[in-house]
Symmetry: C2
Subunit: 141 residues, 2 copies
DNA sequence: CTAATTAAGGATATAAAGGTCCGAAAATCT
DNA sequence: AGATTTTCGGACCTTTATATCCTTAATTAG
């Protein structure tokens, strides 16, 4: 469904939300530990999230990462890493997904995709962080 | 969503259904032409579909491929090529997707996956071939 | 100012997916 | 039987995704 990088990105964002209190920063080591992702690769993804404006970073001692100070949806995270293909492209790989020139499964999958898009677009990081804080939702294993 | 190989497989199966009349066989060239997939790669996928019992093949002149003589769902095709990961694995990459140890987005995505699984499992190739035959659904471009 | 710490970023390595090539095996036709 | 056609199957190549390494730049603390 999502690329590995995107899975990591979602976990990173969720994790950072759960530790976010009055501007506290979390470092790379913390983050990769918390969601069980390889440290060096996690660093790359963090960079991409910063570039896309979803995170803010600060260097030097006491440095680290924090979530940008505005509501962020799952869709924004997914698009930042994987692009819009998951919610735009034809599932059978036609050059364009359109009702004007649909593939044989277009109608069925448009419904599924709208469902997916709806969830991604209306679920905010703040909506799902509570389960992790309470300890009944998990980021690794 | 699906691998390229799986996209091809679905188009192959749909195409073969549309040309299936009293045991006629379609050859590799026909098939790769019809859905715009590279010939050599298409051959590999055809082999896999034969191994999985979704197609029957015959060698030599007048040889080719035909769809096995029973109702086949989209799910069977997808599983034959991509395995069950799309309908089983945790979207955040946890080792196991379970309500006993759920990730933060488990509930939301179980709903989406059930929707997807439902469509795949109840849509038969024969249900969607008509649009292609009538020429208002397309397999390539 | 210097040393220490942390993110940034480029280069490189490894694995997997996507794709090609070619000879062997089976079936058909003459 | 021999030539031809078509699938089968293994080896190989290419591209992309995943992952690591190492140097540089920024920031802080002493
Ligand atoms: S054209 Fe294939 S999903 Fe829309
Ligand atoms: S545990 Fe992540 S989707 Fe079920």
């Amino acid at each position: 469904m999502f690329s590995k990088a995107c899975e990591y990105a979602l976990k990173i964002m969720i994790y950072l939300c759960t530790v976010q209190e009055e501007g506290k920063l979390a470092g790379l080591k913390d983050i990769s530990n918390a969601n069980g992702s390889p440290e060096a690769y996690t660093a790359k993804i963090l960079q991409q999230l910063v570039k896309n404006g979803l995170l803010q970073s600060h260097r030097g001692p006491t440095g680290g990462f924090k979530v940008s100070d505005r509501p962020i949806t799952l869709l924004e995270v997914v698009v930042a890493i994987d692009g819009e293909s998951i919610v735009k492209d034809c599932v059978l790989g036609l050059r364009e997904c359109s009702s004007a020139r649909p593939c044989p499964v277009h109608d069925k999958f448009v419904a599924i995709r709208d469902h997916l898009k709806g969830v991604l677009n209306t679920t905010y990081l703040t909506d799902i962080k509570s389960g992790v804080i309470e300890g009944n939702r998990f980021l690794k294993l």
